[in-house]
């Protein structure tokens, strides 16, 4: 339907688009270029790539890079595994509950990220809900330190990001004709076979766009890690924050920002190709 409203004829009236385009060039692109230049302008005497050389040679930064990517991969995988069944249920079994489920998926976005983080803190704290429960049930002798561990950070991130995964996958599953699955059954496929060999391959586009989206958001996440990771994780966004705040090593912060931005822009192009190929957005 969207395609019918578009035409190849006529030239674009650039006038109305110009203010927004110029605004972003002057106040969004220019700062990012400025930042890129700062990252290749180390103090005199050092080669231009000095900051980047340190990123990949200094064990501190190298482990931070590994942590940033590793955490994003883990969070994305968890969102995919836990979110796929919800998307499947939503499009196959939900029936008249469908719009309610969509609403429930979107409604957490009305709450601030600080509110959600605070909720997890109340659950994971030493005298929080989880420890109180474990103590009362006699499962542990004394409170365990969950807050400020990678575990609470991962749980918090999955919580924030999983709706994006579910909605991306559901958008593709929704377009599959249910009769395809029925046909597989008629032809003798078991439920598992029908899923693994028919439904899953056909939904890969949704899986891919959800994966890219969640990975991008996880890599740039900051508030959740700051309040739930408690220093146990040192990803690039946290180091940028720290370097701006205390160490004031702006050159290294600029280099890390540039790396994050480059990965994000590259992923955006991959995602665009995907959207163009499938028409799913």
């Amino acid at each position: 339907m969207a395609q019918a409203a578009r035409s190849r004829t006529g030239s674009i009236a650039w006038g109305p688009a110009l203010p927004a385009l110029l605004f972003l060039v002057a106040l969004f692109v220019a700062p990012l270029i400025d930042n890129g230049l700062r990252s290749i302008a180390p103090p005199a005497g050092a080669p231009w790539y000095a900051y980047y050389a340190r990123l990949v040679s200094d064990p501190f930064y190298l482990s931070s890079l590994v942590e940033t990517v590793g955490l994003s991969v883990l969070v994305t995988a968890l969102c995919l595994v836990a979110g796929y069944p919800v998307a499947y249920y939503l499009t196959r079994y939900a029936g008249r509950w469908r719009s309610l489920i969509v609403f429930l998926l979107i409604s957490p976005l009305l709450t601030s990220i600080i509110m959600r983080t605070f909720g997890w803190r109340a659950i994971f704290a030493r005298r929080g809900l989880l420890n109180t429960f474990l103590l009362d049930a006699g499962l542990v002798d004394r409170p365990i330190d969950l807050l400020g561990s990678p575990l609470s950070a991962v749980v918090g991130l999955v919580h924030v990001l999983i709706p994006f995964m579910v909605l991306s996958i559901a958008a593709v599953l929704e377009k599959l004709d249910p009769r395809i699955e029925e046909a597989a059954h008629v032809l003798g496929a078991s439920r598992t076979q029908a899923f693994v060999r028919v439904i899953l391959p056909l939904s890969l586009d949704g899986v891919a766009s959800g994966t890219i989206l969640v990975f991008m958001l996880a890599m740039g996440s900051f508030v959740t890690l700051l309040f739930l990771g408690g220093g146990s994780l040192k990803t690039f966004p946290l180091l940028i924050y720290q370097q701006f705040n205390t160490t004031r090593d702006f050159g290294m912060a600029a280099a890390m920002s540039n790396v994050l931005m480059t990965i994000a822009v590259a992923l955006m192009f991959v995602q665009l190709r995907l959207i163009r190929r499938t028409g799913v957005s």
Binding site: A17, R38, P85, T111, I114, M115, R116, I240, L260, M268
Partner: protein, 265 residues
């Protein structure tokens, strides 16, 4: 597995999923009404004292006011810049038009902490470092994609027939824009503005870099408060914020009908 059992397993999974989604939110609401001065379970008594504290603690109120001002002005700015661009580009099917739309959406792709860090240094060159104007510009950059995306979605969905009909009936281009196009895309404009307002209110990473004495937004105040204490006033404040967001959504829905928006996108 029998069909009934399978159905039960599915239902249990989806229930568990939504318990996971809503548990932390529900807990904040409960904690907001607890009496103790620190977050701990089991809860011994309930009171409204944390709500009183929220309204009595000046930094919270000042932060809320600043956040509202920035979010409102950034949404208006994004509407003024984004809407004409979206209308000019939405109906063209060419690589150039697609590239321009992609560019307008690109602030969504870059991590906010990178946007904030880069913009602070850049704007400082012009003396706009930790000023209200600098903060406003940064929020407007982040808001433009939301307005562009929703406007394009709605504008493509309404089709070109009604505009063509108006032209055939003798309307000038200005009349078509004012009496046909803008009323037709109104849900998109309202939806985009509302979305960018909510995103801006919640935007900590960008606001953080621009904070100074008179540009501290609410999330930044909450951040520094949470770094020093873990009492329920943040929970109470979160509940107030949630009510404001929910009230705003209901109000906009009453007046403009968000539901028609969710049908078109």
């Amino acid at each position: 597995m029998s069909d009934r059992l399978r159905r039960l397993v599915w239902l249990a999974y989806v229930w568990a999923f939504f318990v996971f989604v809503f548990a932390p939110i529900a807990i904040v609401v409960v904690v907001a009404f607890q009496e103790q001065g620190y977050v701990a379970f089991p809860i011994r008594g309930y009171s409204l004292r944390w709500f009183e504290k929220v309204f009595a603690y000046k930094p919270f109120i000042d932060g809320l006011v600043t956040s509202f001002e920035v979010a409102a002005l950034a949404s208006v700015g994004a509407l003024l810049l984004g809407t004409p661009a979206a209308l000019a580009l939405a109906r063209h099917e060419s690589r150039t038009a697609d590239a321009a739309v992609t560019f307008l959406l690109s602030p969504l792709a870059v991590p906010l902490i990178v946007v904030g860090f880069a913009m602070l240094f850049y704007l400082s060159r012009f003396g706009l470092g930790t000023t209200f104007l600098g903060l406003l510009i940064a929020h407007t950059v982040v808001s433009i994609p939301y307005v562009v995306r929703t406007t394009i979605g709605v504008y493509r969905a309404i089709g070109r027939e009604i505009e063509e009909a108006a032209e055939v009936l003798g309307a000038t281009r200005r009349q078509v824009l004012w009496y046909v196009t803008l009323p037709a895309i109104r849900p998109g404009l309202i939806g985009g503005a509302l979305l960018s307002f909510l995103i801006s209110i919640d935007n900590l990473p960008v606001s953080y870099f621009f904070s100074s004495v008179d540009t501290v937004t609410l999330p930044v105040v909450m951040l520094s408060y949470m770094e020093s204490s873990f009492d329920p006033s943040i929970a109470a404040l979160s509940v107030v914020q949630l009510l404001i967001a929910f009230g705003g959504l209901l109000l906009v829905d009453r007046v403009y009908g968000i539901r028609s928006l969710s049908r078109t996108i």
